[in-house]
Symmetry: C2
Subunit: 207 residues, 2 copies
Amino acid sequence: MKRIAESTVRRLSIYLRFLEEFEARGLATISSDALAARGGTTSAQVRKDLSFFGSFGKRGLGYSVPELTRRLREILGLGRDWRVIIIGAGKIGAALAQYAGFRQRGFHIVNVYDSDPAKIGRRVDGFVVRDIARLEQDAAGDDIQIAVLAVPGEAAQPVVDRVIDSGIRAIMNFAPVQLQIPEHVALKTVNMAMELEGLSFALTNRD
Amino acid sequence: MKRIAESTVRRLSIYLRFLEEFEARGLATISSDALAARGGTTSAQVRKDLSFFGSFGKRGLGYSVPELTRRLREILGLGRDWRVIIIGAGKIGAALAQYAGFRQRGFHIVNVYDSDPAKIGRRVDGFVVRDIARLEQDAAGDDIQIAVLAVPGEAAQPVVDRVIDSGIRAIMNFAPVQLQIPEHVALKTVNMAMELEGLSFALTNRD
DNA sequence: TTTACCTTGTGAACAAATTCACAAGAACCC
DNA sequence: GGGTTCTTGTGAATTTGTTCACAAGGTAAA
């Protein structure tokens, strides 16, 4: 398949959210224009994004809400469950562990890990925090697809190396560092300080 | 000033992090090539990014670490303190309130708000949670530049409207919704479920 | 001072992403 | 059935972002 731009994938996620809203309201069809308006983009962009994966609409009518919803779920790989571990049982790790938005979309948290003996064995939102030393042996049997990193910056690279060694191929990183990974591994980094710097830049450099 | 791409601003943040590391190690100069290697980009990209703001290097030698650090801080608007409020005292809001990375870079959390009577008045990491009803009157006197939204999706749009009405021009949004804002307001949305969907897509659609 | 060697800064070439614009279908009405 | 209206799907045009490639400027050493 032709390489799909990251920006396209992001927009597909946005479209899917709206579609689910429309579906809940019982609407049968929606036009690219209506989808675009809600997503802050243009109708041509919506149609182009979808065209990478097929043609799902009816000319003159628009898209069937249930069908497009189903197709987008499929495209985004949401037609199945994903097994996720969280590494780091600090405040951020704990917030993620209890975040309902994950399970709703098929991301099931299986375990929470930490290296701090004071945290290991304690409960964090229903999960007993496990010793990170067990990562490799657990991962082998648990069939984990995604690891969420919520550890301090200096711990992140060693941990991510172990995560990758243990066969996990997708990582969501909340540590404020640039991780080095082989190219067959998918990585998304969320760096909150960096986002704030983007705002600071915008506030500072506007006309 | 010519419009600067968001991708450029992100990279400037990354460069700044490395520069601070180099500065701490006492290095005097650094080449665009060395900066690029750490940031996962190319030397031409580094030089192009910097060229939008001036020419800070010396041919044959590279960039002075302290000087480039200083200039990048200035460009990113980090030469001053920013006053920030957090709206939403749930798990995510609490995690953000205690996150040291913010204060380190001059982002000072002034207040934490919530609408839940059970939370108002209680302490969250040293902050007494205030009633969101007070937002407007507080904001007037407190000189707040940035609001961080950590509220449930359905509450986000009404809250952001009030935030903007009260004169705040930069918003960092953790609610999993697409916010509608006027164009003079800067907005960064961090949607963790959407990031996970990006990983799900990558795992599903690879060769 | 000359030579050898680096590394920047930047137009020009290229690549990627977005927008335009319109033919082709589909529904609906008379 | 013909005309009207709507909206998709998609090449082509445009815009935006990245990479190339090299002249210009600077250091260092002899």
